[in-house]
């Protein structure tokens, strides 16, 4: 960028935030120049959002700023009064939040909400304000801007809401935009659009941007500089090219290695053992030590300094200490190959779906007469053989979850047929369905709502066995299942709240496996998890398939996971399958326009960097 030599717009100096005994933000320093994007990268719970909130002085009441400073232009933000700070928020620094659905006021029209900002920061009111609001909506690419001004948030789709939110953030003409996971809640195709829009607007206005994300793909597309955060500390700062060419810190490298991608098929994904430490833990040495495969003896008790590398890249790791020559060439241990056993040759398809339809009735009037139908799933057909993986891909709202539930008869299909192991199961109810329940099970998306918080793990896993009458040796079977999914047998007596997201997903998998199913329908099983945990779950699913010969119907929107796992792919769009074929064909030579958009929008950072 041309502004490289100008003075920084925002300078964060040794910023620390304290909550109780822990430090969710510890000694963080970086600067952002006008027109430049600084990306804060890291998993959830690493203190990225807390850093942004500290910059805006919007910390929750329990958190205190204990050290450091934030300079915006020539002003020291931490020294301003609350009234002066309000002028900076929205005026100087704008902010976009993760969830567009909850960051707009549902009872105010879009126009009013934008005009409010204009009034506050520019003193614009009435006609000129409306005029400006319309221009802003046009600038963020919202079609029919004039009409949208009078609409309410519920009338807009998710992507449109995020655009409106961006228009609001831009209304105060900020010089710096803080975007906190701006695209995480959006579909892949929308993500790409919103990111392009942000980039365009930034070029136009010369804004600085602090981008907070956990997604390497987003960083690759947007950032000029990257700061990797781990457990409250920046561990690596580098210009983007250098970071992607040569990530230095073991944590950064692990993040790359944990990404599933086509090239790595048949190889185990690298995982980071353990979890991000809790916020209230006190640290002495490098915080990554317990999960680091390269940890040295003194890593645990001495906090590493910043060590400079080539260019502007800096890393906080003892491995790069120039006094310990020779260590900085350590190469990560090569990924271990998965044991690829010959696939079970199957006699025929395990699951056969023909013209499956699910229509939701629209009821109206006093007597609730059905006046029409919403075709959620509109005649889809595919088949799946034992031991194979079929990925059902599509954006949210295309009916893929509904299709999954209809196959399990959790939602009654309106038409079509589902054959499982040669037996027709549509229309079966009650006891007739029981034997088939044992053959097909489901793993759900959100590990936090898929386990009953009031039951012990043992009871959760036992539920299916009891319901289906497989009650022999139940205690031993539960212990075996827990070990099979990588947990300890004695965890059966604990309650779900004691487990992390990844562990809960393992429990959910154990529950599904308890009745020895042949088919597992996985509904976005990794989308609520962090990258490193996602890798663990994908490895687990892969191992289980090898060992038990399971067939997976993998419902997802994550193309990288599809690339890595699927044998066959069915692309779903508005309730129909628009493309269906082997993974190699569909992903390499997409025929349908929608598949092409989907693939273009899904960006794999490694593919881009290579």
């Amino acid at each position: 960028m041309s502004a490289l030599n100008s003075k920084p717009l925002l300078r964060v100096n040794h910023l620390s935030v304290q909550i109780g005994a822990g430090r969710p933000v510890d000694d963080v320093s970086f600067e952002i120049k006008p027109g430049e994007t600084f990306a804060l990268l890291g998993e959830s719970g690493c203190g990225k959002s807390m850093t942004a909130l500290a910059v805006m002085r919007l910390l929750p009441p329990a958190a205190r700023l204990t050290a450091g400073g934030v300079t915006y232009g020539d002003e020291e933000l931490l020294a301003l009064t609350e009234a002066e700070m309000r002028a900076v928020r929205g005026g100087g620094i704008g902010m976009i939040f993760q969830e567009p659905a909850t960051s707009l006021n549902p009872v105010m029209s879009i126009g009013r909400q934008i005009e409010e900002v204009l009034d506050l920061h520019l003193g614009l009111r009435g006609g000129p304000a409306r005029q400006r609001a319309r221009e802003l909506l046009e600038a963020v690419g919202l079609p029919e801007a004039e009409r949208r001004l009078d609409e309410y948030p519920f009338q807009l789709s998710g992507g449109m809401k995020q655009r409106a939110m961006i228009a609001m953030a831009l209304a105060g003409e900020p010089e710096l935009l803080i975007a906190d996971e701006p695209t995480t809640a959006l579909d892949v195709t929308l993500q790409a659009q919103v990111l392009d829009l942000l980039k365009e607007l930034q070029l136009e206005r010369g804004m600085g941007m602090l981008l907070i994300t956990h997604d390497l793909g987003v960083v690759e597309r947007m950032a000029d500089h990257v700061g990797v955060m781990y457990a409250g500390q920046l561990v690596e700062v580098a210009p983007r090219e250098q970071f992607f060419a040569n990530p230095a810190h073991p944590y950064s490298r692990k993040l790359f290695a944990a990404l599933p991608e086509r090239a790595g098929r048949g190889q185990r994904l690298a995982t980071i053992p353990g979890l991000v430490p809790a916020l209230d833990v006190k640290h002495t040495g490098c915080r990554f030590t317990p999960r680091c495969s390269e940890a040295l003896d003194h890593c645990g008790n001495t906090l590493p300094e910043w060590f400079g590398m080539a260019g502007a890249q800096q890393v906080r790791c003892h491995l790069f200490d120039p006094q310990q020559v020779g260590l900085n060439t350590v190469i990560m241990s090569a990924p271990t190959a998965l044991v690829e056993e010959p696939r079970v040759a199957s006699s025929g398809p395990l699951l056969e779906v023909r013209d499956l339809q699910v229509h939701f009735p629209i009821r109206k009037g006093l007597l609730q007469r059905t006046v029409g139908h919403v075709p959620a799933v509109d005649g889809i057909s595919f088949s799946l053989a034992a031991g194979r993986t079929l990925a059902l891909v599509g954006e949210s709202g295309c009916g893929k979850t509904t299709a999954g539930k209809a196959i399990l008869q959790l939602i009654a299909p309106t038409g079509g047929s589902v054959t499982l192991g040669g037996q027709e199961i549509t229309g079966l109810t009650g006891a007739a369905l029981q034997p088939l329940r044992a053959q097909a099970q489901m793993v759900f998306q959100d590990p936090f709502s898929s386990l009953n918080p009031r039951l012990r793990i043992g009871a959760i896993i036992a539920e299916g066995m009891q319901a289906l009458g497989q009650t022999e040796n139940m205690a031993e079977r539960i212990a075996e299942l827990l070990e099979q999914v990588g947990l300890r047998a004695d965890m059966a007596t604990r309650y779900p709240h004691e487990f992390s997201g990844g562990q809960r997903q393992r429990i959910a998998i154990a529950r599904a496996l308890a009745v020895n199913p042949k088919l597992l329908i996985c509904d976005e099983p990794t989308s609520a998890l962090d990258v490193s945990v996602q890798a663990q779950i994908i490895n687990l699913l892969h191992d289980l398939q090898q060992k038990l010969g399971l067939a997976y119907l993998f419902i997802t929107h994550n193309m990288a996971v599809v690339d890595y796992l699927a044998d066959e792919v069915a692309v779903m769009y508005k309730g129909r399958i628009v493309e269906y074929g082997s993974a190699d064909d569909v992903l390499a030579h997409p025929q349908h326009a929608y598949t092409q958009t989907l693939l273009a929008a899904a960006f794999s950072p490694l593919r881009g960097a290579a």
Partner: protein, 452 residues
């Protein structure tokens, strides 16, 4: 002596047993125990609970009923059947027998030695305030009563403080080290208030009507203490009556949906649209007719009054389940879509087990909160209903009947204030304690509150 178990006693004991059982169960379940710990660590929660426990103890004492054995008739042989008194007494009556039996002629002020109204003197020499039969009768010279009261109160105060000091020492020494998270300070200070007040009252009680007497000369302190049982009965038994309906219908409507949901919604919408007092009045009057038409059902007047109390609880329960039912339906609608319910359905678990295993435990916090919140409302509702004349049996002592009897005297000059004020104070303390406790319970159990 023959013990009498009234229906309301049985239900009340059952309820207390359920509470104790529930506490034990909660102690075993780590999640519930954690929530209760939060209640135990809260100062206002512990203080409110201490006050509530005192009220419950009084009510329990008042729920142990018996009939006294009458002295054998002179001349009857030893083998004759034993005769029992018609009157049913409670353990509380026995403890307060002096207050119960020593009635005056009419109103007397708290701690007074003379009646409140002038009467013609026995010797025909004009009108004067006559001496009370009981209050201050141990004094030769009634003018000394003030000094006597002060002396006895001081004694009570000192005794109370020393008892409290001992209790505080025991708690600090033995209980606190075992559970340092518990808000022992709140317990100790609440006990200070209770012990001191109780011992001062105890010191004065044998010689005076501490809270005065009412129109027919009954001791107001006695009436107030007897009212506690009625208030607690109404507050708890009504809940017991409404809970099954609210739980079953609320969860059923939310989980099943469709026409079942429509039907249940129509029922509670209709029920809610009928003015509550009218419905209760009509039901109570019908009940009254039934009770009066069948005198043979009841052996004693106490049993009849008890039947009327129970029917009041039942009727109030029938009209008050709709609120909780609505809440439970809404929560179930939300839970039904959660993935753990879907997972259970994928295993073919029956609808009934899903409701019992997955939904019921996850709505218990709402039940807990609304039960404790409703309690105070019901106690107040009884007072209002008795005031309108459709509450408990006139022979049942309750805050409502006390207030109803005292209301006319507010216009009198000088005012007779003590009946009303004592009923007011006791009810206020009871309802305040219940509300404070409900607040703390809600904070501890409401998952939304925990996130904040």
């Amino acid at each position: 002596m023959k013990f009498v178990l009234l229906w309301s006693d049985l239900l009340f004991f059952l309820l207390v047993a359920i509470c104790i059982g529930g506490a034990w169960w909660a102690y075993r379940s780590p999640q519930l125990a954690a929530s209760w710990r939060q209640v135990g660590a809260s100062r206002s929660g512990v203080a409110a609970a201490t006050v509530l426990v005192c009220f419950v103890l009084v009510a329990l004492l008042d729920s142990v009923h018996y009939r006294e054995r009458l002295p054998a008739q002179p001349g009857a042989d030893a083998g004759a059947t034993v005769q029992y008194a018609v009157e049913v007494k409670s353990a509380l009556d026995a403890l307060l027998s002096k207050q119960k039996t020593n009635t005056e002629k009419t109103y007397s002020a708290p701690l007074a030695t003379h009646l409140f109204a002038k009467e013609s003197r026995a010797d025909g020499q004009g009108r004067d305030y006559p001496r009370l039969k009981f209050g201050g009768s141990h004094l030769a010279d009634p003018a000394l009563s003030e000094a006597d009261v002060r002396e006895r109160a001081t004694f009570g105060l000192i005794a109370g403080l020393s008892i409290w000091g001992f209790l505080a020492f025991v708690i600090r020494r033995y209980a606190q080290p075992r559970a340092p998270w518990f808000a022992w300070n709140a317990l100790i200070w609440t006990l200070a208030g209770i012990v001191v007040i109780v011992s001062v009252v105890l010191a004065l009680m044998p010689y005076y009507h501490v809270f005065g007497t009412d129109k027919v000369g009954n001791d107001v302190l006695y009436l107030t203490l007897k009212s506690i049982r009625t208030a607690l009965m109404i507050g708890t038994l009504t809940t017991l009556a409404m809970l099954p309906a609210a739980l079953l219908l609320g969860i059923l409507a939310g989980y099943k949906g469709g026409w079942i949901d429509d039907l249940i919604q129509y029922v509670y919408t209709v029920l809610n649209s009928i003015p509550g007092v009218l419905l209760i009045a009509a039901a109570i009057l019908m009940m009254q007719v039934v009770i009066d038409a069948h005198p043979e059902w009841f052996a004693t007047a106490a049993e009849r009054a008890d039947a009327r109390l129970l029917s009041l609880c039942l009727i109030m329960g029938i009209t008050s389940w709709t609120g909780l039912c609505r809440l439970l339906r809404a929560e179930t609608l939300k839970l039904r879509e959660l993935e753990f319910v879907q997972a259970a359905r994928a295993f073919g678990v029956s609808g009934f087990s899903i409701m019992a295993r997955h939904i019921l435990p996850n709505v218990m916090h709402i039940v807990m909160i609304s039960v404790v919140m409703d309690f105070s409302g019901l106690v107040l509702a009884e007072a209002v209903l008795s005031y309108v004349g459709i509450g408990v049996d006139p022979s049942t002592i309750s805050f409502g009947t006390m207030i109803n009897a005292a209301r006319m005297e507010l216009a009198r000059e000088p005012m007779v204030w003590w009946s009303l004020i004592s009923a007011f104070c006791f009810m206020f303390v009871l309802v305040l304690a219940a509300n404070l406790f409900a607040d703390v319970v809600r904070d501890a159990f409401d998952p939304r509150g925990r996130a904040a």
